[in-house]
Amino acid sequence: MALLEVNNLNTHFFTRGGVVKAVDGISFSIEEGEILGIVGESGAGKSITGFSMLGLIDKPGEIVSGEIIFNGEDLVKKSEEELEKIRGNEIAMIFQDPQTSLNPVINIGDQLMEAVLYHNKKASKKDAYNVSVDILNLVGLPAAEKRMKSYPHQLSGGMKQRVVIAMALLNNPRLLIADEPTTALDVTIQAQILYLMKKLSSDFGSSLILITHDIAVVSQLCDKIAVMYAGRIVEYGKKEDIIFDPKHPYTKGLIACLPKLDDDKERLYQIPGIMPSLLSLPEGCYFKDRCEFADAECDVYPQLQEIDGRRIFCHKVK
Amino acid sequence: MKFKNELLTEYFEDKLAVVGLVVFTILAIFAIAPALFSYQNPYDLTQLYLENSFQAPNANYWLGTDEQGRDIFSAIMYGLRVSLYVGFASTILSVIIGFTLGLISGYYGGWVDTIIMRIADIQLSFPAILIALIIMALWGAGIGKIIIAITIVNWVYYARTARGVVLSEKEKDYAQSAKALGMSNFSIIFKEIMPNTTAPIIVIATVRIAVAIILEATLSFLGLGVPITEPSLGSLIANGYQVLFSGYWWTSVFPGIILMVLIISINLIGDRSRDIMNPRLKR
């Protein structure tokens, strides 16, 4: 049985301007120890998907329908108290901006220990302290024990993100959700953090959902990839298949516009235009206005096709 | 970031806030043109007849009369005018002074900032009443003096708010970009940064108008405010207070109720304004 199975999830926002279907009927699954990458441009609904897993959707949004089956239980049906026991415990989240993820007025040690003690009422302060120091060492924070007394503003961006990852791993979560964890970091630090996440998820046996707009990042870590566009998944399958043989034009576009170090072409490939606003989606395939292969057939939303274990939504792929 | 139309429609979504706005508008109309609504001008001595004094509320005098035969209902209308005039005038002056000082203080920093903020701190450590009393002891009573006194008490809050906003805005790229274009500091402060400070100032102002009105009422109650010939709500309350326990309750209680209603309506408007101006984060 898969660790996490999401079936036809719908998270909608009821705004003044209309209903925004941020997540519009998506399905995916993750096995134990697997890494799934959710990739797409800003506004595609990837972060909302991540937040929906933990029920972190505030008004005017709500999970309208669908199932999130974690460990055999449907998280959508759980109460707030039940979800609180799971958050930071069995499912942990790493947010995008390390500047705002940590409380600026509490030192690192206290924040870590608080996370331990909240979910382990019987643990002693000394135990919590030791566990915290251990995990800081594990995430490669230099001079870990000294850093327990540091405040977030005394650390660099990369170090802060390591602390955030440490906090997420403290209680041995079975699933980690990382929302653009390296977007705010330099490329050199990004490489270290990605490597760290891959190593730790393997060491701890946790599964990982990595949410990002950068398909190159996804290619480094993930076993499976889901490509999202305007609230829906357009391609979903194994990493090797999607990266080396992308079938959906959007996926192809995302890969083609990556700058390549060894390429001699003078211009970068670019996907023309921008993702449509969720309040004014076109009739038919949402990508058709930016797609070089689109024609009249695309005025109807494409049906799901399963090709060699890959799910794809495109008329032009047979 | 929301703009006028959105803000207005949002405001009206809260029923209580709408009630506050309606009540305030009614009171404001009374205050602006009391002659239209009142039975008499209570300050025109030729209209008063002592034989009408201390009448309980009845058909002629809806809220009764005081010891001079003044119709309480009319007196409240005129009193509202003074209260609102003092409240708004002092607030406008405080905003201008405090806002300007705060912008300068925040933008230039250094000793300018230190001096202005230390003056503000010293002033804040004194109770508002005490400062007003000192000023009026030095310069005497009268509506003009009250306005000055309340202005001096209140400018600090606007200064601090403006300063806080400037400190964060001046480091932003759009302000740096203006500086890089060669704009003078003065232009940058008033053309670029100031428009970004108006929202928090409006929010504070709506609350502090109420405070200004209460401060004036308190001073008048203590007998230090407006002269007896131009009573405000505060002095009306004080006036009636002396005879309260003799059984002539209406002379004090009605002005008191109206004052309370005024303050509550202003607070409702202020609360709602604060809520709708708060930038809500969209994920």
């Binding site: 490597y195 950068d214 996907i271 | 703009f3 790229d173 970009s177 890089a180 060669g182």
Partner: protein, 325 residues
């Protein structure tokens, strides 16, 4: 370098020291720039690459005038502007414009796009209203924004659109030199491609001279003529674009290349974990600044601060051990 290339900007031995508070009473010197030297040639693009904290943004701000250099000179159009504020530079200032990094704070949220674009014209030119409007409209076409955008406010646009507006603003005075400080770092990768292509087109059309500042070496290939790599306030390698991408010499440059995620190569292993972080520019080391992260360091590296070595063909690197690894 060919003799026909004209130097538009000469940065000579520029130092910038900030005084920062460490602890309650102590103040220390933060050496943001340590004798930076480079030239920008007319009509060419120099990319300045380095991690956050290496001083690349600081040098940009010194050139722009937002900071004044502590020491050294910046020669532009024959004048040394290193110590001059924008107001003091007078009309010279209209020839140096910057595209800022953060599309969300570089446009005044309270102003219409029209007002934002018109402002430089009002300050530095004598155009009348009609001429200003024409200039703005033609620039909108150049950067790919619709004319209707002029009546809107910044918050109504996406990050990519805002950067187009920021580029339009930087170009509207037709400056001699454009500084671009991480102009694409805050954008999605797919939009980065659009903006990079736009900048290349504009460079071609207007023969722009540009200083392009970034932490991501993979994006400089398409835009640059020359590349300089910066570390802790000094240049550690400099070469033409082709030369640097073909054979980077300095260990730091090689590290920058190795950390770029590439879909064809799997994540590096232990060597990635050991790349470490740039240290703080307070209390700089005596020897080579990069020594503590360098896989090839020895005792000499930690004692002597290396000078730039000329490797021929206008390729320079600050490392005594070039060719030995």
């Amino acid at each position: 370098m060919s003799q026909s290339e004209v130097k538009l900007l000469e940065v000579r031995d520029v130092e910038k020291i900030f005084s920062v508070k460490v602890g309650t009473f102590e103040k220390k010197d933060l050496h943001a720039l340590n004798k930076v030297n480079f030239d920008v040639f007319k009509g060419k693009t120099l990319s300045l690459v380095g991690e956050s904290g290496c001083g690349k943004t600081t040098v940009g701000k010194v050139i722009l005038g937002l900071y004044q250099a502590t020491k050294g000179s910046v020669l532009f159009q024959g004048k040394d502007i290193a110590q001059l504020s924008p107001v003091q530079r007078g009309s010279l200032q209209k020839d140096v414009q910057m595209i800022f990094q953060d599309p969300y704070s570089s446009l005044n949220p309270r102003k219409k796009i029209k007002t934002i674009l018109e402002q430089p014209l009002k300050i530095h030119t004598k155009m009348n209203k009609k001429e200003r409007l024409e200039t703005m409209l033609s620039l909108c076409d150049d950067v790919g924004i619709d004319h209707t955008y002029l009546e809107r406010y910044p918050h109504q646009f996406s990050g990519g659109q805002r950067q187009r507006i920021a580029i339009a603003r930087a170009m509207i005075l037709k400056p001699e030199l454009i500084l671009a400080d991480e102009p694409i770092s805050a954008l999605d990768v797919s939009i980065q491609a659009q903006i990079l292509n736009l900048m290349m087109d504009l460079k071609e059309k207007y023969k722009m001279t540009m200083l392009f500042i970034t932490h991501d070496i993979s994006v400089v290939k398409h835009l640059s003529d020359y590349v300089a790599v910066m570390y802790l306030g000094e240049i550690v390698e400099y070469a033409s674009k082709a030369e640097l991408f073909k054979s980077p010499q300095h260990p730091y440059t090689k590290m920058l290349f190795s950390t770029v995620p590439d879909i064809h190569t799997p994540l590096m292993t232990d060597s990635v974990l050991k790349t470490g972080e740039i240290q703080s520019p307070i209390d700089l080391p005596v020897g080579c600044f990069f020594a503590n992260r360098c896989p090839y360091k020895d005792e000499v590296c930690e004692k002597e601060h290396p000078l730039l070595t000329d490797l021929g063909d206008n390729h320079m690197a600050r490392c005594p051990k070039i060719g030995q690894f």
